[in-house]
């Protein structure tokens, strides 16, 4: 008997006499927290990420200011005029390691938890580009911010790879003290456009 068939047979025999149908109680919703954009900013800053709010026409200028001359890689669909930024051309990991920064957009923001989710569409690029450089500038539209985790899950397509980001890379492995900056970008700068 193959390992597959043997494991499935053992599972079935282990559950002999157990009713398979089971009603899952619905998960509760968070109460209305009012201004989602404001809550989002507060919660993102709580992780010691940097947040800048700006109006749509000022976006390119604000991002250029944040980059401050850093050598940046950008996804092909960013649709933002950034002088000096290099569009991702399938760089190797070693080549990406030579960039200081990356600028991406996002798919959804979660106010309750201060989380940004990338679904790696062309305006965000493949997963590696938002991982290897040390500074991640992430542009979020205020209209993309939802209240809580279930709202995000309903919007996201599981067939795409997803990266949920809540603040910069961090660890609590030494005496359970939180330290920002291990392997992922050590600085996360969120630009919230309204």
């Amino acid at each position: 008997m193959s390992a597959r068939d043997e494991i499935l047979a053992k599972v079935r025999s282990a559950l002999d006499g157990v009713e398979p149908a089971y009603a899952v109680p619905p998960a509760p919703r968070v109460p209305d927290r009012g201004d989602l954009a404001a809550l989002f900013v507060e919660r993102v800053e709580d992780y010691r990420a940097v947040v800048t709010r700006c109006a749509a026409p000022d976006l390119a200028g604000v991002v250029a200011q944040v980059l401050d001359g850093a050598r940046a890689v950008v996804p092909p669909g960013l649709d933002l005029d950034l002088p000096g930024a290099v569009t991702d051309d399938g760089f190797t990991a070693y080549e990406l390691d030579r960039f200081d920064a990356v600028v991406t957009r996002a798919r959804v923001g979660i106010a309750e938890t201060g989380t940004i989710v990338l679904d790696h569409a062309p305006d965000q690029g493949r997963r590696a580009i938002s991982l290897v450089p040390d500074l991640h500038v992430c542009i979020v539209d205020a209209g993309q911010v939802v209240a809580d985790v279930p709202d995000a899950i309903a919007l996201l397509d599981p067939a795409r790879p997803l990266t949920w980001i809540s603040g910069p890379s961090a660890t609590s492995d030494i005496e359970l003290d939180r330290v920002e900056g291990v392997h992922g970008p050590r600085t996360l700068h969120v630009v919230l456009v309204s």
Binding site: I7, P28, A93, L131, P150, P158, S166, S169, L176, V182
Partner: protein, 500 residues
């Protein structure tokens, strides 16, 4: 590189040794207090936490009750998404699959995301025997691996080490396996994390094969989920060409929407954060993005044994948050090594016997490594009633000795008690004897219990083990039944029992 738990002594022996290590107790007390406070704060933010727990427990319970169906669905969705699905009955089979996929790439090393399942099956040691180096990339796992140490906590495997010890390990060991620690490395956590970043980066950039586990596997979409903090997970899941994920069959949830209560419960229970820094999800292969060859090893290794246990089945709901370790008064004092397994603490005390049976003395000692205070059940995000399973596993230990040729002293005592209690006359005689013993013990007693009752001193013989850590009240001079007879059920006055 790192050690194994094989040959660990039973819990009481290991615990006694751990209790004598004052540095360990200080490290643990500090760390568990910090994480308990953080968790309590973010859990208090969620008004309907109990409803969220019920939903989370429900999601996992529903998946387990129809597990065969969900596993077949998962296999289908993964295969459609371009992943190769393997099945492994036990540790040996799982390790062999990982080794053969790695060798097929011509690789002699893998980078690893922290994974309980791969620790459970001893993957690193098996790969090493096959000439493949496995690099742990989680900071705490790196500390454990470099220090040739054993993990002592599910979430923070190096919780027993303080910053000074970690600096020493980095300074002495990093150079032997890659980029050495920088000169003048301080013991500031930020500096230590920076040294780990530098040390591991070259390994991430050159790695061809990565090995991960998964926190959840979504059956209907074929999606695997890894929840992490440092970004080492993202590195492993994104940069190499080949990804092998070892996933216990109990990690399945039925639908994509089922992730909702889980992703709200896990970070708050685990690291005490609203959300962990990074969560990655992927469904098979994405052309042009990340690994182009994706393998998933579905692992049994005792899970079907636990699934067959009507009381213990709920332990398979566990999402490895480690909240039960952090609140456990026993864990806080003895640490993780005393449990002799990669699964320590209250959850380990039930999971190990359920996965492996209680045939060896070490595993059989684990259900007793608890005061049954119930704190673990109170914090468990998926409502595993750990105390009830502990009691049931204690019964399993007793049952496993029923046919012993030489019965345990406890079994002899219980048999004697049953014989005495089954006859009114025998019971009365035993009570007379106990009253006499009480008068004698009371007279010679040097200890008084709260409330003034005399305590018996140390008992001789097999009972000595029991009284070495407890006060045994001296038996009352007059039994309840004797008092009832003498006072006609209390109606003849005479509140006080006779004698001393």
């Amino acid at each position: 590189m790192s050690g194994t738990f094989v040959g660990m002594p039973a819990f009481p022996t290991a615990a006694r040794e751990a209790l004598g290590d004052t540095q360990l107790r200080r490290n643990l007390a500090h760390a568990t207090r910090t994480i308990r406070d953080k968790r309590a704060k973010v859990v208090a933010e969620v008004e309907e936490w109990e409803e969220l727990r019920l939903a989370g427990a429900g999601v996992k319970e529903a998946a387990l009750r129809d597990l065969a169906t969900h596993l077949e669905t998962l296999e289908d969705s993964l295969t459609r998404a371009g992943a190769t699905v393997h099945w492994a009955r036990d540790a040996e089979e799982a390790c062999a699959i990982v080794a053969s996929v790695t060798k097929a790439q011509g690789a002699d090393e893998v980078v690893k995301v922290k994974s309980m399942a791969t620790q459970e099956i001893g993957l690193n040691e098996a790969l090493e025997a096959d000439g493949i180096a496995a690099w742990e990339t989680d900071l705490a796992e790196l500390i454990v691996q470099l220090g040739e140490d054993l993990p002592s906590h599910i979430l923070v495997p190096a919780i027993h080490r303080n910053r000074a010890e970690i600096r020493e390990i980095f300074r002495r060991r990093m150079g032997a396996v890659g980029r050495p620690a920088p000169d003048g490395l301080s013991d500031e956590p930020a500096a230590l994390a920076g040294a780990a970043r530098e040390h591991l980066r070259e390994k991430f950039l050159r790695a061809k094969v990565a090995v991960s586990g998964a926190n959840f596997a979504v059956a209907d979409t074929g999606t695997l989920v890894v929840v992490e903090s440092e970004g080492n997970g993202r590195m492993c899941l994104t940069l190499p060409e080949v990804l092998i994920s070892v996933v216990g069959i109990e990690k399945v949830v039925a639908t994509w929407a089922d992730l909702d209560p889980m992703l709200r419960l896990l970070p708050r229970s685990s690291t005490g954060e609203r959300m962990n820094p990074y969560t990655s999800t992927w469904s098979g292969v994405t052309p042009g993005d990340g690994p182009q060859e994706v393998h998933v090893v579905l692992l049994d290794n005792g899970r079907t044994r636990a699934l067959a246990d009507d009381v213990g089945r709920q332990a398979l709901r566990c999402i490895r948050c480690s909240a039960c370790l952090n609140v456990c008064p026993v864990y806080e004092r003895v640490g993780g090594h005393a449990y002799g397994s990669v699964y320590p603490g209250p959850i380990g005390a039930i999971l190990n016997p359920l996965l492996n049976g209680v045939t060896d003395p070490q595993t059989a000692s684990l259900p007793y490594a608890s005061t049954l205070c119930g704190a673990c059940f109170e914090v468990c995000p998926v409502r595993i009633d750990i105390p009830s399973v502990l009691v049931d596993q204690r019964a399993a230990v007793v049952d496993s000795h029923r046919d012993d040729r030489i019965p345990k002293p406890e079994a002899v005592a219980m048999k004697g008690a049953a014989w005495t209690f089954s006859s009114a006359r025998r019971l009365a005689r035993a009570e007379q004897a106990s009253g006499l013993a009480g008068r004698v013990l009371g007279r010679f007693s040097r200890t008084t219990l709260p409330g003034g009752q005399a305590a018996a001193g140390r008992l001789p013989g097999p009972a000595a083990g029991w009284t070495s850590a407890r006060d045994l009240p001296a038996p009352p001079a007059e039994s309840f039944r004797a008092w009832w007879l003498r006072t006609n059920g209390g109606t003849d006055g005479g509140q006080d029992g006779g004698g001393s």
